[in-house]
């Protein structure tokens, strides 16, 4: 099998990957290196260029501020020293002491002393040009005693507030600041101490020497460090005690300084009397690096120095350097990538050649061999040699394998064919379903059963194609549970399948699971047998057995009822006869006549009952004649109209021209009466009853609907149909309506329809019943036409009583038997009547007794000569007759 060749795309090749990896590493490494170099990593102890640059800038700012602070302090120290020298010089102190002592009494020499003192001060001022505004010796009263400006001698001193501090006891030296003519000045005072003769200070301070100095030169020389002073964005300011701008570089006017955010911020911070370096963000968003220094001047006064530089401008060179470094790094990376690409190609080319050979080998070219070119790396050369050796062995193995595979394939094909034949030989259906429910294999019997060519059913989904729609879901769920191993397989079961040409077939299945080597379920193998016909035959057999059983039951019941009715009827005959005899012997006015009449009526009703039972059992007396069915129906319907309920209607539809029916008229009447009676009772008040007769042909299919077990042969039938629109019957009532003693009426005896069934059965007819609850009931009885079906009513008058034709039915047998009996009975009756007429009041012996006696071969005596003896085959009748005959003597 050839593996699919991977898609050749970006980063798929060795060379491309080497370039990509190197590029990513180079970019990441270069970026990280640049970042570390610029910003540093404190946890590695690496201080970045940015930090170093920032420190360098801040240090420069601090140095500038320190330098300026030191220059001011140095300048101030010089002035303090100069003042101290003058104030402690012997000449000056001596002249001042004398002058101060004699201040109260001034004399001519005092002017000279003042002049000398003034000269000292003037000399000092001239010695240091531009350093001093004035130098003055001031008395505690504020009066100027001597001054570098002799004109001021004797006037009040200008900086009175400063004098208060200058004369503070013990404060030998004092420094303060002030404004003079719009310029800041520094005031330095030195107390002139008086001493006693021993040279000890007396503690008195008669005057202070005060210098008003103007560090203008120093202020104007607010030069920044080289590199800062000339750079744009730098600012150095000197602020006074109240935050006023004393000097600035670049020079700004004081009134404009307050509106400059930078100067405002620097001034505000500089007067906090603290020293620090900060990175500050101005209100306008600019970020500045600043250094602050405080120059203490006097007790609570001092100047502030602030030096600041715009951060962006200060770092501009660094940004430029960073950009150039980044570009250089990128250029180097690009060059390196080109070299890496060239080197990667040198490495990748033999590997690519080897890959092509491997792919060729994989594709089936077993002659493919790698050729290690000169210059290829040693490892790749060794790999090529190893590959060639391996390819040779694979080629040999492949050839051997090919032969073995061909042999095995042939064997396997034979085995498979053999197995196939075995399967096809099987008469049962064999189907292998995969775990997806599709047919994987099916044998010939299976394909034939499904009605498909053998190959056509493979791959079809079993459930979608061969299961009835109503069973698909349920069976599929069971199958899927089976495939998931969640349900045990049902090895034997039956179900219906759909075939192409035979419709639904019932199959009995035998199933086994098919598993692979790991035990995983792969499908199910099913062996199915078509049991449709067998099941149908079983059902039919069962139905026949049930019908036979029912028939036997009814027949037994009929035999039983017939037997009882027959004997009972004989008894009733005897009772009736005797009642008649008793009535003859009684006087007509006898009160017993009435009772005898009641008993006679009871025997008549009992006779009717027995007649019904006999009719059902087919043992009633038959007198087969040609009957005009229309006449019979019409007469009986007319008689029964009196029984109609209130509002009920009667419709009679008699087909004219009907042939005569060969039947027992009494039983026909019984049929009509029973059916009409039931219809009247079912229709109730306001119902409609229809009685019709007709002649029709009936086929097998129609006759199969008969409610009688014995179906007549197809042919022409006369029919009586009685229909009502009453309450109808449900299925249970329909099924049991002909069962003896089954009745839905309170007063019914349940023998009417049974008698109808027996009569119709006896006449070889058929019964159709159509009834539904609420839809009324229609009962149709059929009677086969006689062989001479062309007899018409007109022929009846000439018709002789005809013996019933021998038939095969029960009626035929019974009719024949009863015909004989009737003839004998008639003879007996005639004899009995004759005897009765002759004997007068003598008791007429029962016919049965005579029959019994005759049957036993006993001669009844002379008196009985000429009498008809009725013989019955029943034991009871025989015994009764014997007793009667004995009684008669």
């Amino acid at each position: 099998m050839i593996a699919p060749r991977r898609r050749q795309g970006w980063l798929q090749g060795i060379r491309e990957r080497i370039i990509a990896y190197f590029g990513i590493l180079a970019l990441a490494g270069g970026g990280a290196l640049l970042f570390v170099l610029v910003y540093g990593t404190p946890w590695l102890g690496i201080e970045g260029i940015h930090g170093l640059k920032e420190a360098e800038i801040v240090r420069a700012l601090e140095n500038a501020a320190d330098l300026k602070k030191q220059s001011i302090l140095t300048w101030l120290a010089s002035r303090r020293t100069e003042l101290a020298v003058v104030a402690s010089s012997g000449d000056f102190v001596g002249a001042a002491a004398v002058l101060l002592k004699q201040e109260a009494t001034p004399g001519a020499r005092d002017e000279e002393r003042v002049r000398i003192l003034c000269q000292h001060l003037i000399t000092l001022k001239r010695t240091i040009p531009d350093a001093y505004d004035t130098l003055a010796l001031v008395a505690p009263s504020g009066k100027i005693i001597a001054s570098s400006a002799p004109d001021e001698v004797g006037s009040g001193y200008r900086y009175r507030d400063f004098l208060d501090a200058a004369f503070t006891m013990g404060a030998t030296e004092q420094i303060g600041t002030a404004w003079a003519d719009g310029h800041p000045v520094i005031l330095i005072s030195r107390q002139v101490a008086t001493r006693d003769r021993t040279g000890r200070e007396t503690g008195e301070v008669p005057a202070v020497l005060v210098s008003v100095t103007r560090p203008q030169q120093s202020l104007e020389a607010l030069a920044l460090l080289p590199g800062l002073a000339d750079a744009e964005g730098h600012q150095m300011i000197l602020v006074g005690t109240q935050g006023e701008l004393l000097a600035s570089v670049p020079e700004r006017k004081q009134e404009l300084a307050a509106r400059d955010p930078l100067l405002a911020r620097l001034s505000r911070q500089a007067m906090t009397r603290t020293e620090s370096s900060r990175l500050e963000t101005l209100d306008d968003g600019r970020r500045v690096l600043s250094a602050y220094r405080y120059v203490p001047l006097g007790v609570a006064q001092g100047w502030g120095i602030a030096v600041a530089v715009d951060q962006d401008k200060a770092f501009a060179p660094l940004v430029s350097t960073k950009a150039r470094a980044a570009l250089f790094g990128l250029a180097m990376i690009a060059i390196a990538l080109v070299l890496v690409g060239w080197g990667g190609g040198r490495v990748a080319a033999p590997i690519r050649d080897l890959r092509d050979k491997v792919l060729a080998l994989e594709g089936g070219d077993f002659s493919a061999r790698a050729a290690a070119k000169g210059g290829a790396p040693q490892e790749i050369g060794e790999l090529a040699a190893a590959f060639n050796g391996m390819a040779g062995r694979i080629e040999n193995s492949h050839q051997e394998l090919e032969g073995t595979v061909a042999e095995r394939t042939r064997e396997l094909r034979l085995e498979k064919e053999k197995a196939r034949r075995y399967l096809d030989l099987s008469g049962t259906m064999m189907v292998l379903l995969g775990d997806d429910g599709r047919i994987k294999m099916i044998n010939r019997a299976g394909a034939q059963l499904l009605g498909l060519p053998e190959g056509e059913s493979l791959g079809l989904n079993w459930f979608d194609n061969f299961l009835p729609a109503g069973q698909r879901k349920e069976v599929r769920e069971v199958f899927e549970a089976l495939m998931r191993g969640e349900q045990q397989i049902l090895e034997f079961y039956d179900n219906l399948i759909l075939t192409r040409d035979q419709g639904e077939r019932l199959i009995s299945w035998h199933n086994i699971l098919v598993r692979d080597e790991d035990g995983s379920i792969q499908g199910v193998l099913c062996s199915g047998e078509d049991i449709t016909r067998k099941r149908q035959a079983d059902l039919e057999r069962g139905e026949l057995e049930r019908q036979l059983l029912h028939t036997q039951k009814l027949e037994s019941l009929g035999v039983l009822a017939g037997g009882i009715a027959h004997d009972f009827n004989n008894l009733l005959m005897a009772i009736g006869g005797n009642l008649e005899l008793v009535r003859h012997v009684l006087e007509p006015e006898s009160p017993a006549v009435k009772y005898l009449e009641n008993a006679h009526q009871a025997t008549k009703r009992a006779g009717d009952l027995t007649r019904q039972m006999l009719a059902y059992s087919g043992k009633g007396g038959y007198s087969v004649k040609l009957v005009d069915l229309n006449r019979l129906v019409g007469e009986n319907v007319d008689l029964m109209k009196a029984s109609l309920r209130k509002g009920a209607t009667f419709a009679v539809q008699l087909q004219s021209g009907l042939p005569l029916l060969e039947a027992d008229p009494g039983q026909m009447q019984q049929v009509v009466v029973n059916l009409v009676t039931n219809a009247i009772e079912a229709a109730g008040e306001g119902g409609a009853i229809t009685v019709a007769t007709r002649l029709s042909d009936y086929g097998v299919a129609q006759l199969a609907q008969s409610r009688l077990e014995q179906k007549p042969q197809p042919g022409r039938f006369l029919s009586i149909e009685v229909a009502d629109d009453g309450c109808g019957m449900d299925q249970t009532a329909r099924e049991r309506m002909f069962d003896p003693f089954f009745s839905t009426k309170f007063t019914g005896r349940g023998l009417g329809l049974s008698a109808v069934q027996g009569i119709v059965r006896g006449h070889g007819g058929a019964i159709f019943v159509a009834s539904e609850p609420g839809a009324g009931t229609r009962v149709q009885v059929l009677f086969p036409l006689a062989a001479s079906g062309s007899d018409r009513i007109d022929d009846v008058a000439q018709a002789e009583p005809v013996r019933p034709v021998a038939r095969e039915t029960v009626l035929e047998r019974a009719a024949a038997r009863q015909e004989d009996a009737r003839e004998e009975g008639a003879r007996e009756e005639g004899a009995r009547e004759e005897g009765a007429r002759e004997e007068g009041a003598r008791e007429v012996p029962p016919a049965g007794v005579a029959a019994s006696a005759a049957a036993e071969g006993q001669e009844p005596g002379g008196a009985a000569t000429g009498m008809v003896l009725i013989v019955d085959d029943e034991e009871m009748v025989r015994l009764v007759c014997r007793a009667m005959l004995r009684g008669l003597g």
């Binding site: 030296e173 990175l279 203490p296």
Partner: protein
């Protein structure tokens, strides 16, 4: 750590068990001489020199002895330790501005004169800007003027104490801790900043805040025995005069100070004598008018520091600034300067 704590225990032991009659108990011929105990800070310059010179002033001892007092000097590592002792165990002390405010709020004191006018410095290592202090370890001495300077520096760039990792530490241990990398910065007074800058080239002064030391006497001593208090004032002025008189005197004072420092912190780093002298000149001797505190109109001493400490919760909220003003209203030094001969300001008798 034990070596650092040991001197503290020693001091406490001395303070608790020595038979000290407070100076506010007036001396009596029938009772033991009262003790005037002066608290000094041998680890700070120039307070160490002034304290040492004061301790060797024979005139002061004699004058106080004549008044029935015994003079004793008690060394402390920082002024904050003396706050609670002032007025009871201590009769006088050399302390910074912050302890002075706390002393004035707590008890009656009289500020005699200036002992130092300098900057307290916040020194950092590998830190350029104040903003970079965020998250760094900063050593400080709780309740000291250096603590005040640290808070001032942090507030200046919008930081608080919670933005840094504060490491309580003795001032003399801070330079070594910075060099060893145990802390990233510290706030201290001289000589700690100078030592750190000398020893470590990566150390930089990040912030300087003006601060002062003062020589104070207890209010009870000044009220009950004004002459004894004046004797102490005169001795203070005399000490500065003596050191200003010659460089030799200054060197001698430096030697005495070094001896006191070594006794209190034997393992502490030693600053060169020239640097000690330079610091002393810069921070007290060359300060104009020192030790006199010149009172200017509208200039309320330590008003800013007082408000700042109240905002920081370092002093009670109901503390009155008038107590500080009253402490600075003392004119003992002016009285002494008015009578220099009487108070022997020009006579020097310092014995080893």
């Amino acid at each position: 750590m034990q070596s650092l704590l040991r001197p503290h225990f020693l001091i406490l032991f001395i303070l608790l068990f020595m038979q000290v009659r407070p100076a506010d108990a007036a001396p009596s011929p029938f009772r033991q001489p009262a003790v005037i105990a002066v608290g000094v800070q041998p680890l700070g310059y120039p307070a160490a020199l002034t304290g040492a010179v004061l301790g060797h002033d024979a005139i002061l001892r004699r004058e106080l002895a004549e008044s029935g007092y015994v003079l004793k000097f008690l060394p402390f590592r920082k002024g904050n330790e003396m706050v609670d002792l002032m007025g009871t165990t201590l009769s006088a002390a050399v302390v910074g501005d912050m302890p002075v405010i706390r002393m004035a709020v707590r008890t009656e004191i009289r500020v005699v004169g200036l002992a130092k006018k300098t900057f307290t410095s916040l020194v950092g290592r590998n830190i350029t800007l104040l903003e970079q202090l965020k998250g760094k370890r900063v050593a400080y001495a709780e309740g000291s003027s250096a603590h005040h300077t640290l808070l001032q520096a942090l507030a200046g760039v919008g930081l608080t104490e919670r933005d840094v990792r504060l490491v309580p530490m003795d001032v003399d241990a801070m330079p070594a801790a910075l060099e060893a990398g145990k802390v990233d910065a510290f706030s201290a007074w001289e000589p700690a900043p100078s030592l750190a800058l000398v020893q470590n080239t990566e150390a930089r002064v990040l912030f300087r805040g003006a601060s002062s030391d003062f020589f104070v006497v207890s209010g009870s001593l000044a009220d009950k025995d004004p002459q004894a208090a004046l004797a102490l004032c005169a001795a203070w002025a005399r000490a500065l005069n003596w050191m200003r008189k010659s460089n030799a005197n200054l060197q001698q004072a430096a030697l005495w100070a070094e001896k006191d420092r070594a006794a209190l912190a034997p393992r502490g780093r030693k600053l060169a004598q020239s640097q000690v002298i330079e610091i002393t000149r810069r921070e007290i001797l060359d300060v104009p008018a020192a030790p006199v505190i010149v009172k200017l109109r509208g200039n309320l001493p330590l008003q800013g520091e007082f408000d700042f400490l109240m905002r920081q919760g370092k002093i009670p909220k109901d503390a009155a600034y008038q107590r500080v003003e009253r402490a600075f209203a003392y004119d003992g030094l002016q009285q002494v300067f008015k009578s220099p001969q009487r108070h022997l300001l020009g006579d020097f008798e310092y014995r080893p």
